[in-house]
Structures are given as structure tokens and as C-alpha cells.
Amino acid sequence: MLSEDAPTKQVSQEPVPSDATRRVPMDGPIDGTRRIITDEVLPEGINPLGYLQPGSMLLNAYEVVETLHPHETERAGIFVCRQGERTVVLKVAALLHPPKPELWDRLASLDHPNVLKVYETLQYQGLYYEIQEYCAGRSLSRRLKQERFSPDWVMATLVPQVNEGLKYLHEQGIVHRDIKPANIYLRQDALSSSVVVGDFDISSVIASDRTSRDTKRGAGTWEYMPPEAFPRFVDSSTSAKAARVTRTADYYSLGITIIELVLGTTSLHSSDLADLFDFYLSGGQIELPTGPQPLVRLLRGLLIRDRHKRWGPDQVDRWIEQKNTYDDVQAILDDEYFSLKRAVNPYTIGAMHATDLASLAEVLDRHPDEAFDDLFKSNRLTTWVGGIDMNVARHIEKDREIWRAEPDNSLFRCIMLLDRTRPFPVLGLGKAKTKREWLEKIVSSGLGEEQLAAGPLSFAEVRKLDSWLNLKPDAEPELAARVGATLWFPSLLRLEEIAYIFDPTLRYSHTLSAVENLRLPEHERTGGRTPQEVAQQALGRPEDWKDGIPDFYQSGFERWKSGFLEAWMRQRGLGELAQQARAAAELLKEYPYAAFESFLRVLDPSLPKLHVHVVAEDVGKICVVKYREIASTQIRYYTEGAGIPFGSLRLAFTPEGITLRPLLLDSRQGTLTFTVDSRLGIPVSTAPRVAAVEIHNGNCKLAGDRPVLRYRIEPSNKLAGMRLAMGAGLGFLVMGGARLGIHAATGLGAIPPGNDASELMNRAARWRLPENPYILAFLLAAFWLYVGFRVWLWGLRRSEL
């Protein structure tokens, strides 16, 4: 029983400093440390109790057994006391932080097996006393210093009992706000005993029909605080800076508590407050235990950042019964897309103010000059955006660096990043919400192709189009890449290519450009849908070719040369075929029509061949060439069929010295020139020989009379006579001279040889080199004359080759 001068069970009505809290005041600057508010006024004449020796008396009735925490100005004192046989805990509120009156009234009336029982609340000599039940098992944090808690105990004991306790508190209109291991107790000193929730120092009372309350006082131990309790964050429901007190906040804290109990610590415990803001803003995930799976699911539910979707008592009940619904799981999955925003000051340019990203996009769009300055010359823009969404700000910053060389596009990307739902501004033609609308605006603008090329299809504008396709909500990055790839083409080709990209049904016409084709009503549009159709339409029918090259062929050729056909093929998934066709055309690039024809024939290899005929009068012409001379003759040809022939010509079975020009057919009619060079070893003949012309490769074949060359080399009698005479004369002189010379010089041959040894010695002794200088000179001159003659012959032969 209380003594006579026991304090009345009455809460002081004197004004309580409303900002008083022993925890971090969140409205102040963030420096990551726990700050003491220094302008507090201490109650006059009251001193803290400090440490009390065992045996001291409190309130004249309670004998102190142990001081768990001394009473200080800023910290509550906690004393284990004995009153008769009963052991209780006396908690004396910190001087600076007297309890909230509305809570103080209710504490003693709370009665639940999982809520710490408060027997009585007293005010005595200016101090606030709570007489609480004594929990022999102490707090979980104290136990955590020795051991970790098993997931099984957490799932089987802790979660159901704390859930019951919290449910009870919430029914009473109380949000605990400070669930953590230090505030959860074991009633007995055994894990099997019941778990109680205690320490209502900073709890808030909210009306039972509301789920949250704005508060200027952010409070709680911040590792355990849910994101919305930080006053810097705003979620979708508010733009105010105030922090929020929510019922589900307790469940978030419970989630962190469980992680700490199981793992011993959490990833948040190692970070300071500023880190924690960034952690939440950048969508970081708290490290969870790896198992068991039900516990992980529970934790993911409790740690949902969106307070409206976070698991509360009902979901936890269902989890305990293992009957979670689809919505419960979906809430976990949705959390990945939840983003937290910071509360911000309006962004001002000129007379316009932006309060969110979408309005900022509009402001930037209307004030491009200032926007350029803010984007490129300072960090004002990115800093402001970072206050709302760090991810967007980083994206903008990254884009700014990537596209620094193209500031227009950089600003456009910035605007699109701020509001991805913006339509695309077609230069001078209004705004387009879809790519088809863009194409319609271009087509219906009535602008000439050159005006389009300078305006909405200029490099900068198409770059923006590329960006827009990448950044709009239903982004089409592949399409954007295709559009982006057109940037390096000439602008007319770019227009054509984008038309094919945006209208996948558009056909390829040899006479009309894509825009001209689009301007026609749908049923009047011309062109081919497949490469075969395109190739056939390029050639037309043979009748069209009676009066020379038809106009459609010429225009198709010009369009092909400009690359439009390849553009169409690229955008119809025929890029590989186009590449093959172009490779074939490249080989013939010196003959443009031949290149075009071979391109078409790669598209449709079944195109019929052209027929090449020889003009009847030229059949059977003979080319007569004198021996060692050159002559040429011509044969005319013409072509039947659609297209321009090309083909490689060659002569069959001809000796060296007969040539044909040209070696490649590349026009519908012309002449073939044969040249016969008889100096190159062509045999002389009295009867004409024949050299046949063949076409190998190409798109044409020979028809009717074959174009052949008939030729004859006439013999030369004069040359023959000279050769014979010279041969005989030289032979006479050389051989006769040699015999004379040998005899005169050496005496050899004067006597027939014998086999007598002494005779041999005599001959050897008589033999000597010629001593007569005239004979020696003659021999040398003859030798060098002969050598000179051979060299002359050799040179003659070389020059004839």
C-alpha cells in the first residue's frame, strides 16, 4: 500500500514541452548523431534520482533491489523493487521527457497477457512513476548479447504473442512506435514463457477510425523505423513534410526486430542516418535471413515499404495459420515498384513553379533557355530532382554526360525522364502521341521532302524521336534502335526508312517515294510486298521494253541507287538478303545497270534470262590479217526480253592474240569488237578459222545465230626468202670459216690421227694457242658477232610479245 504522502495518481496539467523526446528529432538537420535539444527548460527544484543503492526506499513503500538504469535528466530510471513479497519494476520518467498525458491516463488500464502490465501511475514530487510488473526473463536485447534466437522460436512463440499484444494496443488506440528487442520482455527466465511488449515512452494515441496521424515529432529508434516515419519522405498520399504515425509502423519495426533476433544484427545497424535515407530512396533491400522460407515470407510482408500495403495483424494471423491470400503475396511483389519521394520546395523558372516532376517537365519545355542553363551550367536541376527521385536524377545526370555533344537531345531526354507520358513534339506540326500519329502528321503536312528533311527529319529531331521511343511509357527500344540507325543516312533516305519502320504494311514502289505512297488512299497504293514482287515490278513485261528503257525501270533504278530499296528490305527483315544482293551488285559497281540487274536477280532468282542476238548482216564476217600485223572487226548485237543484259563474254578455243571487247555486256544493243594480233603466234592459215563467243554468268544467253569471229592470217613470202637466204649464207660462212680458222690456228686436222705414243707427244708439243694476232682477232670477232646476233634475235622476240 502507498504511504500517506504518496503522490496522487494524477498527471500534471502543466504544459509539457511538445518537442521533447529522447530520440532523434527529425525536423532538424541530419548529421547522423543523436542530438540533445539544448533549449529545453528543466523543471525547477527537481533533481534526478540517479543511482540508488539496494535497500533504498522509493515512494516510501518500495525497497530498491537493483538499479537497472539510474535516473537522469534525459533518461528514465528503472529500478527493481520489492514491496512485501511482490517484486515490481519502478520506472521514473526522464526529467526532460515527461509522459504524454493522454497515454499516461490509460497505461494502468491496459490489460493483456502480452502487454507489460502497469499496476499504477503516480506523480510524486514532480516525478512521474510507473509501477510495472517485473519480468524475470528480462528484455530480448539483453538475452541477444549471449545467444541468437532460433527461427523456430521466433515463428512459434514471438510472432503470435507480439502480434496479440500489438493487436490489443491498436484496439486501444495506441501505436507503440518503438518495437525493438530492448522493449520486448520474457515474463519468466525461460524461452517457453510468454512474451510481453513494454516501454510505452514514445507511443502515440490515435483515434481508432484513423490509420495514421501526421506528427511533427519523428520518433523511434531509427534503425527500426519504417520509411514513412522519416519526415523527409512523402508517399503518394501526402505532400507534407511531417512524419506519420501508423499502426503498421509497429509491424515494420517487428520485422527489423525479428531479423536482429535471428541474425544478431541487421544491415541497417551499420549505417548512419544519412545513409539510411539514401538506402530507402534508392530502393535498397534489407538483408533477410536465408531461411526458413515461411519466416522470409513473413519478413518480406512486414518490411513492405508502402504503409498501406504492409502486412498488419490480419495478414500475420493468416500467416500463423499458413493461409496467406493471393493479395498478401501480391503486396510483397508490388513493393518492388514502390518508390519513396522526398518532400521538396517548388522549382521556379520565370513565373512558373513546379512541385512535381511532371510539372517540372512542362516548365522546362516552356523555358528551354533557362532549362539549358540549369541542366548544363549548374546542378540545380539534378539536385532538385534528386530530392524527389534519386533514380531519375541519376538518369538525367548520366544522360547529360552521354549527350553533352547534343544538348537539344539531352534536354529533351531530361524532360521525358521527368514525365514519360509527354507526347512527342513534331517540329512545326503539333504533337504526336503515337508513332503512327507522328507518321500521319509528316505525311499530311504537305511539306516537300526537302522541307521535311530540314525540319522534322533533321538529325536533331530524329535523335529526339529515338529518345522519345526509348523513354515513353510503352518504350519501344528495338524500334528506337532502328530509328536511331537511320541517323547516319541522308535525310531523304531517313524519311523513307522511318516510314517503313512506323508503317509495317507499307509496300515498296519503284515510282513513288514512301511518303507519296502514304499520301494515296490505301487501296490505290502501289508496290511490291515481297522481294520477288519488287524484282518483277522493276522489270515489267517484255512489251514495255519495245521503245527502249521504260520510265518505271529508270525511276526504279534511280531509287535503288539512292538506297531506298535496301531501306525497305532492312525494315522488312530482309537485311541479310539485301546484304547478299548488295555484295553481288558491288562486284559490278562500274556497270550500274548490271549491278541493279544482279541485285534484282538475287531478290528473285527465277527472273527469265534475256536473249542476245547477232545482227544478221554481221554473221559470217571474216577478219583477214597479214602475218605480223594487227586488225580488228565488229559484230553488232541486240537484246530481247525485259531488263538490261549483263554477262561475261569470252572466246572459246582461240589461240593467244585474239581479243574481244567489251568483256561485259551492259546495254541492250551494241557492238562486239574482235582484235586479231598475228604477232603473238597465231598460225598462218589459208582457210579462215573460227572463234566462238560465249556468255558465262550474267542474266542473258545467246540466241539464234551465234556471234562468231572468222579470221585468217596471210603468209609473208618476202620474210620467208630472207630467212632462207640468211640461214644458208651464215651457215656457209660460219662453218667454212670455223674449219679454216681451226686449221690455220692449230694445224689440227691436217694429218689423220694415229695411235703411236711418241707421235702423240709430238702433236702435243706442237699444239699451241694461235700466235697470229689477225687470226686471233678474227676468231674473237666471229664469236662476238654470233653472240650479238643471238641477243638481237632474243630482243626482237621480246618486243613482239
Binding site: 592459215s685 630467212r723 640461214g727 651457215g731 656457209f732 689423220p752 711418241s758 702423240l760
Partner: protein
């Protein structure tokens, strides 16, 4: 042939050449005699081939006539294509050569039965000279 073998033969050739030069002063008279003997036989053989003995012509004239025939053949060989006689030229070359071979056979038959110089005492041969020395620089 690999490089080792080739080198071996080249070394042997060089060695043989050096040995030959080393011993040349000793064998010079016999060496020259052999050369002269072989040359006489060669000239005599060619004379026979050209019909010097069987026709009784001066050797130089016989050689000149044969040279003219061979030159004619050679000229014809080169000029035959221009006359359209490419196929005849082989025959035109074979005929004179065959004629020369027949002539040689006849001549050898005659000349081998003529008296040898050693058997003819009327032939005056000077005394052999023994003082021929090759003047070598080393």
C-alpha cells in the same frame, strides 16, 4: 639432294680442282698431248661426217657447204609457220640431217682404209719439245 650431300660434292669438286692444279705442272705435257690427240680425232671425225674424204673436197669448203645446208634448214624451221608449213618443217629438217648421216657412214668407210700417218715415212714431223712449262703465278 639435301644440302649436306650437295656441300659434300661441292667440296670434293673444289678439292679435285685444287689437286688438279697442284699436279698440273707435272703432267702438263701429257695433258696437252691428250687434248691434242682428242682434238685431232674430233676434227677428223667431223671432216668424215661432212664427206671430205669421200667427195675429195677441201675440208673448209665441205664444212661451208654443210653449214649452208644446216642454215637453210634452220631458216626454214623459223619461217615455216609464216608460210603455213608448220607441219612440213619437221620433215624438211629431217631430210638434210639424214643425208649428212648417210654421207658420214660412207666417208668413214673410206677414210678408215687410208694409210696412217705413222705408217707414212714421208711425213716430216719435228722433234718433240720437252721444255714446255706452264707459267703459273704460284
Amino acid at each position: 639432294m639435301n644440302i649436306d650431300r650437295r656441300t659434300m660434292w661441292i667440296n670434293i669438286g673444289i678439292g679435285a680442282g685444287v689437286l688438279f692444279l697442284f699436279f698440273l705442272p707435272l703432267i702438263l705435257p701429257y695433258f696437252l698431248a691428250t687434248l691434242g690427240y682428242a682434238s685431232h680425232w674430233l676434227i677428223w671425225g667431223i671432216d668424215s661426217m661432212f664427206g671430205v674424204h669421200v667427195l675429195g673436197l677441201p675440208p673448209a669448203l665441205a664444212w661451208a657447204l654443210v653449214g649452208a645446208i644446216l642454215g637453210l634448214c634452220l631458216g626454214f624451221w623459223t619461217v615455216a609457220p609464216a608460210l603455213g608449213m608448220r607441219k612440213t618443217r619437221t620433215l624438211a629438217a629431217i631430210i638434210p640431217i639424214a643425208f649428212l648421216i648417210v654421207l658420214m657412214a660412207l666417208d668413214m668407210n673410206v677414210s678408215l682404209h687410208q694409210p696412217r700417218p705413222a705408217e707414212d715415212p714421208t711425213l716430216d714431223t719435228p722433234a718433240p719439245r720437252r721444255d714446255i712449262q706452264l707459267q703459273l703465278p704460284f
